[in-house]
Symmetry: C2
Subunit: 205 residues, 2 copies
DNA sequence: GTTAGCATGTAAGGAGTTACATGATTTT
DNA sequence: AAAATCATGTAACTCCTTACATGCTAAC
């Protein structure tokens, strides 16, 4: 066990491999297509992560289908990974945690990306958690702004302005999402997203 | 010499102390007022940084003015730091580097915050560097989007959409800034004071 | 007289990052 | 056959985070 690598990468890898088996290089491209706007990972991060997930038994090398052209000898050039049962369990476990890790800057994007696999109540908690996190941040910055008796130069000010605006934007976005979530939650006739909403969590508040 | 701590914090601390001497606690508040929309630092990051900058001679403990109420004995409860000559030099050095460190996600905010201390040509290079960085990112994500023959669920899609929009927004912001920089650069008579007014077309949304 | 905020720190560790190294496969 | 891209990895490092620890000072 030892290193519990509970970072963004692990979740992202498990989540992507849950959709379909892949090899590392492809994984990285998908990774940067999905999360690319927020963060990027290099191979130096990915391969060690794969190595460890493999050691933990969360993923396994997929045996190549016999139809594929064997390179030459027994050595295959691509290593296709798939999620094991343990890996699926771990993924579900990670996606069920509605804590700071899920709504801080680092984690939010990845968690959101796999909301399709996440229970509706957890989704809501994460969205609300992030929103209040951002609102705290707004307050903090605004407090610093109003208390500005120091002469702040125009760049510092412009940065704060732009920062505030971005955060406000995200809050509005979250508001829409939360409203949308509540709506689909309240109407049992229409399923929330694309596929399955397994285990209903009783009633809403 | 040894550890050269050339991270975000160092620059931020040097930059803030250049404006006015402060003690650690206050420094952290200013830090999170200025950069709070992008990132936050705890005391566990700040104090070690101060310690090292002190050891390097970049900052020094300010001697308290005799008028202040001495606590009891020689022990003072607040430690006010000021920038030394070496520190100012180091700050200028850091602010003169128009490289990836200045336009990647981590560094850009801090560098921008202290543009007031930065040479005009460096400012422009950093702004343009960041813009092309973001444009690369846009291309990467868009490439992943168009090549989406896989069924992506609506959350992944919504995340990409929101991410793209945010990045596009920042690009537009950078465009305005760059235009503004070029303008003030070209007109030596008028200082770059006036912050952008509206009146421009386009930004409906 | 006790909470809340001010103020300063340390020890241990994590989650990637950077730079390097190598070979296969496809395109030009 | 050269160049680009695909594909996989390692070693060393770093900047910061988390959790902990302490005491002073103002407010209620």
């Amino acid at each position: 066990m030892a290193s519990q690598r509970s970072g963004v990468l692990e979740l992202a890898v498990l989540g992507l491999l849950h959709e379909t088996p892949m090899h590392g290089y492809e994984l990285r491209k998908r990774l940067n297509a999905v999360l690319g706007a927020f963060r990027a990972f290099g191979y130096g991060s990915l391969y060690p992560c794969l190595k460890e997930l493999l050691a933990q038994g969360m993923i396994a090398e997929e045996e190549a289908p016999p139809a594929t052209p064997m390179p030459l000898s027994g050595r295959r050039s691509k290593i296709v990974y798939r999620l094991t049962a343990d890996g699926k369990e771990r993924l579900q476990d990670l996606l069920s945690q509605a804590g700071p890790a899920a709504w801080e800057d680092d984690g939010f994007g990845v968690h959101f990306a796999f909301f399709g696999q996440t229970r509706a109540d957890i989704r809501l908690r994460i969205l609300e958690g992030r929103r209040s996190r951002l609102e705290e941040r707004l307050e903090g910055v605004r407090a610093g702004l109003t208390r500005t008796r120091e002469r702040v130069d125009r760049y510092t000010l412009e940065l704060q302005r732009h920062g505030l605006e971005s955060v406000e934007r995200e809050v509005r976005w979250l508001n829409e999402l939360i409203a949308s979530e509540r709506q689909s939650d309240a109407s049992p006739g229409s399923p929330p997203a694309g596929h399955r909403d397994d285990g209903r969590a009783g009633s809403a508040g």
